[in-house]
């Protein structure tokens, strides 16, 4: 599988990454080579292999439904860049 510079620009936009125009070509090449490695691995016959969602071979342990956290707003807002009336302030977002 190969990717185009346009794919990389698109993914960078979605991931909020800034890639300088001079670097696009190099990033595209590097990601393409990773994807080629994936292609190579895809060629392996895994018919008898159990799919692995996680290398630990464990299953998720669950937590009892209990409230264990108390209000620490003061402490969190003391280190926030901006807060007002108990709200965290961020650059304006409008739907």
């Amino acid at each position: 599988m190969t990717v185009t510079t346009q794919d990389i620009e698109n993914v960078a936009t979605l991931a909020r990454l800034r890639i300088a125009p001079t670097e696009i070509a190099e990033v595209t090449d590097r990601i393409s080579s990773v994807l080629q490695l994936v292609d190579q691995m895809q060629a392996v016959d895994t018919g008898d292999t159990e799919p692995m969602a996680n290398p630990l071979g464990e299953v998720q342990r669950l937590r009892a439904d209990q409230v264990t956290e108390s209000d620490q707003r003061e402490a969190f807002q003391a280190i926030a860049p901006a807060a007002q009336d108990g709200l965290y302030l961020v650059p304006r977002v409008i739907d």
Partner: protein, 481 residues
């Protein structure tokens, strides 16, 4: 051209747990901003999610409630997008291996017909916080109290063909989740929110048209209205030879219109991948069996039982079975008065009207099922007429006592004494000689209509207490001359 509407619904249900899905913060509606937002909910560096057992149990319970396959190995994924009400930059959701697979529900429409609606899947995820765009000096305010509230997203097949079906389906899911006790179902507080996917296609064709998605419609009435206006909008475009743009739209209740959410113009590409901070959830037979053992009788089974046990119509049975408290109340009334049909009528007409008028939920009705049953028993034994019973019921609602004490206090016992009524009928006939003459000269059809006049006069003379069946009988005899 004749167009057919095709609808699929995505319903988000907030699960009624004590704590959040991945943190020990309390789940509650409202409250002072960010007082229930822990380091995990704020996405502080290094924080890890720990899954709440109760969320898994509720997901499985819902799956069993719609006879769906339960995902024995269920996996969480990251759905990536940037919006400050979700500070991690992704939502933990489920993509390829949801907890609930294919299922189906049957809803009953007003005309009594049944409709099967498929459920593609239901998956677990976390709710986002809230953004406030009021005046914060050009900034937005973020409240993360809601962030991390467990959600079950229920995705229907595009099986819905009208807004009536959409509402019936939504109400069914609402009654199911409240029966199961997995959500409080409070739509006004956002415990149940609905996205509507809607498209049109020429009648008789198989291929789907281009759809739009109307986000976050939060009441039954708004769902109905949003569907109506979006249908008209798409119809106008298609009839003019135009084409529909696939997009996300918002329903504006004040203007009763849908409009495009322009900020989401960039095609959504969530780049899902398995959540590396959580292991797969493995659900075994013992766990499922334990949940099965706690399953209450569900709306559908109750509805079927009401039909077979009490001989109610399909629709009456569905209305009464839709709400667990209402269903229990009805059964209490039926048991006390011994007439299920009459009990069903009183609960779904007279009681419902008073609940509605006073904006009271069935849980808080001032008249107990036993007391209403006792009132109906007085209609059955001819102590009072159905009409008088309505007045007595209002008095019971206002706390004036039980049926019997009110009937006695107001002297409402029905007059069934033949001699007394005969005198009354004779007086009425003597007082209205012209009408009697006209009646006797008229043909049978006209007579039937004219009889009402005499019944009315006798009822008036008895202050509404005459037994109407007996009055009719006596009048027919006397007028026949």
């Amino acid at each position: 051209m004749n167009w057919e509407m095709v609808i699929g619904l995505e319903i988000h249900v907030q699960l009624a747990t004590r704590s959040k899905i991945f943190s020990g913060s309390e789940v509650a509606f409202g409250g002072s901003p960010n007082t229930r937002a822990s380091a995990v909910d704020l996405a502080m560096p290094g924080m890890l999610p720990v899954l709440n057992e109760e969320v898994v149990r509720m997901g499985v319970l819902f799956g069993l409630g719609i006879d769906a396959e339960i995902g024995r190995t269920s996996v969480f994924d990251r759905k990536n997008y940037f919006y400050p009400d979700l500070p991690k930059g992704y939502q933990i959701s489920q993509f390829e291996h949801p907890i609930v697979g294919n299922g189906e529900v049957t809803v009953v429409l007003a005309d009594g017909t049944e409709k099967q609606i498929g459920i593609t899947r239901a998956h677990l995820e976390e709710d986002a916080g809230k953004s406030l765009h009021e005046d914060f000096h050009g900034m937005s305010g973020i409240d993360l109290n809601r962030a991390g509230t467990p959600l079950l997203e229920i995705v229907s097949e595009p099986d819905i063909r009208s807004s009536e079906e959409a509402i019936a389906y939504l109400k069914y899911i609402h009654s199911l989740v409240t029966y199961l006790g997995i959500s409080d179902g409070n739509m006004a507080e956002g415990s149940m929110r609905c996205d509507v996917n809607l498209s049109l296609r020429p009648h008789g064709t198989k291929e789907f048209g281009t759809r739009t998605e109307i986000k976050n419609v939060n009441s039954f009435r708004f769902v109905e209205k949003a569907i109506a206006v979006e249908y008209e909008r798409q119809l106008d475009i298609l009839e003019d030879g135009g084409s529909i743009t696939q997009e996300t739209r918002l329903y504006d209740a004040d203007r009763n219109e849908t409009r495009s959410m322009r900020s989401k113009e960039v095609a959504n590409d969530y780049r899902y991948f398995p959540e590396p901070d959580l292991l797969p959830i493995v659900i075994d037979e013992t766990f499922i069996q334990r949940i099965k053992d706690t399953m209450p009788e569900l709306p559908r089974a109750k509805r079927d039982r009401f039909q077979s046990e009490y001989k109610l119509s399909n629709y009456d049975a569905a209305v009464l079975a839709a709400n667990r408290t209402l269903a229990d109340y009805f059964e209490g009334v039926a048991a006390t008065c011994g007439d299920a049909k009459l009990a069903a009528n009183w609960v779904s007409v007279e009681l419902a009207a008073l609940l509605n008028r006073h904006d009271v939920a069935i849980e808080y009705t001032p008249v107990s099922a036993e007391d209403l049953g006792a009132l109906i028993a007085r209609i059955k034994d001819d102590t009072i007429s159905g009409k008088i019973a309505k007045d007595v019921f209002e008095a019971m609602w206002n706390g004036e006592g039980t049926a019997d004490t009110i009937i006695d206090a107001r002297g409402l016992r029905q007059m069934s004494d033949q001699g007394e009524l005969e005198t009354m009928v004779a007086t009425v006939l003597a007082d209205n000689p012209n009408q009697v003459a006209q009646y006797r000269a008229a043909d049978e059809t006209k007579q039937k209509k004219m009889l009402g006049f005499f019944v009315g006069q006798v009822m008036k003379a008895s202050r509404g207490q005459a037994n109407p069946g007996l009055v009719n009988k006596l009048l027919n005899q006397k007028l026949a001359g």
